[in-house]
Symmetry: C2
Subunit: 144 residues, 2 copies
DNA sequence: CTTCATGCAAAACATTTGCAAAAAG
DNA sequence: CTTTTTGCAAATGTTTTGCATGAAG
């Protein structure tokens, strides 16, 4: 716990951000959550830092995105979702619950990367290729 | 124009929807726009059908999505975006302007499709694979 | 000290809802 | 006629803003 806070302070500094309890709480929450919307981050983080405000969560998330500590994700939910993992990876996106799961598939990534290696797209600066496997989380369930 | 209305009436009927001036205006707008957020659809459609309401645009868009006449798209803009093309294709997504362009790449689609042919993903029912080329529209411009 | 981050409350958006009136088939 | 669909206005949910206070380096 104290370990983690120290750890996070280093990370914040490395990204050129001042270390504050709020930022530590938010980043710590994101590490636990992996992917989350702003309101869930707020719930999770404010459980530990009771003075935390929704507006601050938005500020902090935005500053994290600016420096590249978090990534914003696309959703079909009209809500903001964050991803704690900023390397290039695929996602499983559940259309029902609007939740994300990382899906690592290096072979696929390589294949796609190769495909675009020497391609230029007219009038477009490509930053990254985002592959989403869209579907539904299967109910883990009592069978039949 | 009259031609188009007749055309759209047929399409609506084929999708099991009653034909109304509002639905015709919205679908017609979507055909012109290709991809658009609800407010842009409203602007475009209400220019021709002045009685049209924002709430109706949302209703109509939702009913179109239900029957598969339009597709909802993911965005990082906290807004609803629609796509008039429902076949499986890639998109260029501009992070700056939050606009979409279709990007057809059958070779890529085939490759990805093959890759997933015999794959099962634990606890997930895959509906479709969504590939977004994320970046920025290049300013068409006066050089240098 | 000086600058930047936070809390608070209000504002700004985007979307949804409930219900009466109007239109479609 | 009967069933949907629409318009309106109000409600909801999410994100942003402005500004005074407080904390970080």
């Amino acid at each position: 716990m104290i370990e983690e806070a120290i750890d996070i302070k280093k990370i914040l500094r490395r990204y050129g951000l001042k270390s504050t309890p709020q930022r530590i709480a938010v980043y710590s929450a994101m590490r636990e959550l992996g992917h989350a919307s702003a309101d869930v981050v707020f719930q999770q983080a404010s459980a530990k830092l009771t003075t935390l405000t929704v507006a601050t969560v938005y500020n902090v998330l935005e500053s994290f995105v600016q420096v590249g500590l978090l990534q914003r994700r696309m959703s079909s939910n009209n809500k903001m979702y964050m991803d704690v993992n900023t390397y290039n990876h695929c996602h499983l996106y559940c259309e029902e619950t609007h939740t994300f799961r990382d899906y690592d598939d290096p072979e696929l990534m390589l294949m796609i990367h190769d495909h675009f290696r020497n391609k230029r797209i007219r009038g477009f600066d490509l930053h990254r290729i985002d592959v989403q496997l869209v579907g539904k989380n299967r109910r883990v369930g009592r069978s039949k």
